[in-house]
């Protein structure tokens, strides 16, 4: 019995040692990471740090890496042009981190960036992480400029330190409905029924709700609104459901891969629709879509935020990006570029690296973005860029062209544009 007790004692001692060792190790490790950080607010006059939080790994890494690259490009350009004049040419610096698409990581990384002296943050492509960064920036009183994040509710919390350049999910849904209405009327076509397909996540849901409501207000019908899981490997059933009973236009909100599946299903089902209309669709306006989709995706329309191709500055930027990054610039990257510039202008105006002063300057920003916008950026009291706008794109002659509204158009749109016309 005594012996037994002894071994147990030894055993528990052995549990104790590694537990303490491990916790000490964790401590030391954490201390180490802080020591690596360096910069603290005292020397901000020499350098202004902007934290950039995007998904650099995982399913959305393609966009995240483009966005991170574009943010760095914007900073390099500003620094080459002499830095922040009102701070005696102080340079900007981007601290780029990976959110891994996880809200928890976004939160701890945002906290770390702020603690290491970031004067402002940009990010983050996805709504979940963005919602968390917003609450961190609000509670630490550091401005956060969202490049891409569609979820409306992020800016419905009364936050003072969060701003969004991109049109919100509901803005995109509403504008898409209005543009569809105008385009069909202008072309003299009669569109009464619109079938809707949307991915079931928060982006698809938010956009679809606003789109369907506005379509009905405009006097059209939505006989079927079908949601789907973007991870599915086949979407034929959903396409069939959405066009069942006959619709004039099929509206689709989704990411790249699922939108491609939908185009394949459409090609095999060959529904009698006048057009396929992307509503803030993440697939129909990618160059890759033309290569992958049946029939080159000819005729597909998509209402989305986009680089303003009528603007020389935007075109030059796109060319530089292509050369530096090695792939065509996505609209998401253009938004990150704009987000950095909004902050840079605010730092210039505030003549300070103080987050609160930068926040005040951002709130009346008058920056002219490279993405399609209704004039200059104008943040309303919630922090939403009220001039944010979408334009309609169409796949024409093997390229993606801006076709509507007319003052931004590169070429005239084709409507009706049945997705199966070339095969018939």
């Amino acid at each position: 019995m005594k012996k037994e007790e002894g071994t147990v004692k030894a055993a528990t001692k052995l549990i104790l040692v590694p537990t303490v060792a491990a916790s000490l190790l964790a401590l030391v490790g954490c201390q180490g990471s802080a020591a690596l950080g360096g910069d603290h607010p005292d020397d901000t006059a020499k350098e202004v740090v902007i934290g950039s939080l995007h998904p650099l790994s995982g399913a959305n890494a393609a966009d995240g890496q483009q966005m991170s690259f574009a943010a760095q490009m914007a900073v390099d350009e500003i620094n080459e042009a002499g830095g922040i004049e009102s701070l005696d040419g102080a340079p900007l610096r981007i601290e780029s981190v990976d959110t891994k698409s996880e809200p928890e990581t976004a939160q701890s990384e945002a906290t770390r960036l702020i603690q290491e002296g970031a004067s402002a943050l940009i990010g983050s492509f996805e709504s979940g992480p963005s919602a968390n960064i917003s609450s961190v920036s609000e509670r630490n009183e550091v401005p956060f400029v969202m490049d891409v994040a569609a979820l409306d509710s992020i800016l419905q919390q009364g936050y003072k330190y969060s701003f969004r350049i991109q049109p919100s999910g509901s803005m995109m849904g509403e504008s898409s409905a209005e543009y569809l209405d105008q385009m069909t009327k202008d072309s003299g076509e009669d569109v009464t029924k619109v079938g809707v397909l949307y991915e079931q996540g928060n982006y698809g849901t938010a956009v679809e709700k606003a789109f369907a409501n506005r379509i009905e207000e405009l006097g059209m019908e939505v006989p079927s609104a079908i949601s789907y899981d973007p991870a599915s490997s086949d979407l034929s059933t959903q396409v069939q459901q959405a066009v069942a009973g006959g619709v004039d236009v099929l509206a689709v909100t989704g990411y790249y891969r699922d939108s491609l599946l939908i185009s394949q299903a459409i090609s095999s089902i060959a529904p009698e629709v006048k057009a396929v209309y992307g509503v803030a669709n993440g697939g129909f306006d990618q160059t890759q879509f033309i290569d992958d989709a049946p029939n080159g995706g000819a005729g597909y329309l998509n209402a989305n935020y986009r680089l303003d191709v009528t603007d020389d500055r935007a075109r030059a930027l796109s060319a530089r990006f292509d050369k530096g990054f090695g792939a065509p610039m996505r609209a998401s990257a253009a938004l990150s570029y704009d987000a950095v510039n909004v902050i840079a202008e605010a730092v210039e105006e505030a003549a300070s690296a103080d987050p609160q002063m930068i926040r005040d300057a951002i709130s009346h920003s008058d920056y002219e973005p490279v993405v399609v916008n209704d004039g200059r950026i104008d943040f309303d009291e919630t922090g939403q860029n009220s001039h944010a706008a979408v334009s309609v794109l169409q796949v024409k002659d093997g390229a993606i062209r801006t076709v509507f509204p007319n003052d931004l158009a590169e070429t005239v749109y084709t409507f009706p544009a049945p997705p199966t016309s070339a095969q018939n």
Binding site: P18, S23, D98, R112, A131, Q200
Partner: protein, 352 residues
């Protein structure tokens, strides 16, 4: 049934008398470790910066999930692949009651724990009543978590996929379980939860019910033969497990202030609970805490290392996703080298 249990009980405790005496000694050590955890927990906010403290919070949440999982799967012997269900119920109940009813998250947490317990007992009852065992039982728990995720995604009252955002209040507010961003209160409350969960586990394992549960896990047929009400003890341990996990869900919600179906009911949640407990040691009281201390900060440590790498690692700088690779390598190594987990291996080695 219950009378026969009472009659059989003395002989059972006589048979286990040796381990009982031994465990009195280990009990003393357990209380010591508990005190140490409390002291470390109380002091950490003074040592760590706010960003490190948010990583430390993740350790606490992982540890709670691991302790919850360990109760049911480690001590109860019912392998769960669906602890996300209870975590999600905790987070969503609190969020719903806070935003739609205006109830304080403290009360919301209690309700969430009650709902999770009821759900866990209900599901387990069905599964055990119809003798769903082993891998099939694990799959049934997984199916239940998935079912809840899909239910929430399609339910308008729960905001479908949009999730809930906890409104930010100014300053510290104990009543609403919300503090300023760099407040140490979150960590202290988390440490408090952790201590309560550990004490509940210790007391339960020492109680008659706990001993019967372990006897049932080790040999269900023998346990039933000597009159232990197997089903009742299995349901009890499941209930405790679900309640602890639901509390972790509330803590998550109040600290991160945002929850959506994927965060609450996704597979990643169940995986984290399992990995934490398995790495630390399944069926070991201190296993989940040790596991959490290693698993939760791993990606941050690797990311920090790669941000400013030492010279011999310079070629790795700027590589995104590398931390996930390292994480995977560590997990594989642990499974191969330490199949009983860290605490389990140490205890076994020392006994030899």
């Amino acid at each position: 049934m219950s009378t026969s249990t009472a009659a059989q009980a003395p002989s059972v405790s006589r048979r286990t008398s040796t381990p009982m005496a031994a465990s009195t000694v280990s009990m003393r050590w357990n209380w010591f470790l508990l005190a140490l955890t409390a002291v470390v927990g109380a002091l950490l906010p003074f040592i760590l910066t706010p960003a490190e403290l948010s990583v430390a919070m993740r350790v606490i949440i992982f540890a709670l999930m691991g302790i919850g999982w360990n109760m049911m799967s480690g001590f109860g012997g019912m392998f769960s692949f669906g602890h996300a269900a209870y975590f999600g119920i905790g987070a969503y109940t609190t969020a719903f009651l806070l935003l739609d009813v205006g109830m304080s998250p403290w009360l919301g947490m209690i309700v969430g724990m009650a709902v999770a317990t009821a759900a866990a007992v209900g599901i387990s009852y069905l599964a055990l009543r119809y003798k769903v065992k082993g891998a099939y039982y694990a799959l049934s728990t997984f199916a239940f978590a998935e079912m809840l995720r899909l239910f929430v995604m399609g339910n308008d009252g729960l905001h479908r996929t949009l999730g809930f955002t906890v409104p930010v209040l100014q300053g510290d507010n104990w009543g609403m379980f919300q503090f300023s961003a760099d407040s140490p209160n979150y960590f202290w409350i988390g440490t408090g939860f952790l201590l309560v969960a550990l004490i509940v586990s210790m007391v339960f394992l020492r109680s008659r019910a706990g001993r019967f549960t372990i006897a049932t896990r080790d040999d269900e047929m023998a346990a039933a033969a000597i009159g232990i009400p197997v089903l009742r003890h299995k349901l009890t341990v499941t209930a405790i497990s679900a309640a602890i996990t639901a509390a972790a869900g509330t803590l998550y919600l109040q600290f991160y202030m945002f929850v959506d179906p994927e965060i609450a009911f996704g597979h990643a949640v169940s995986n984290n609970a399992i990995i934490t407990a398995v790495l630390g040691g399944v069926g070991m009281l201190w296993g989940p805490l040790v596991g959490a201390i290693i698993v939760a900060p791993l990606s941050d440590l690797v990311a920090a290392l790669l941000r400013n790498p030492p010279e011999w690692l310079a070629l790795l700088s700027g590589q995104s996703g590398l931390d996930i690779v390292i994480y995977a390598v560590i997990l594989i190594a642990c499974v191969l080298v330490l199949p009983k987990g860290i605490v389990g291996t140490i205890v076994t080695r020392s006994r030899k």
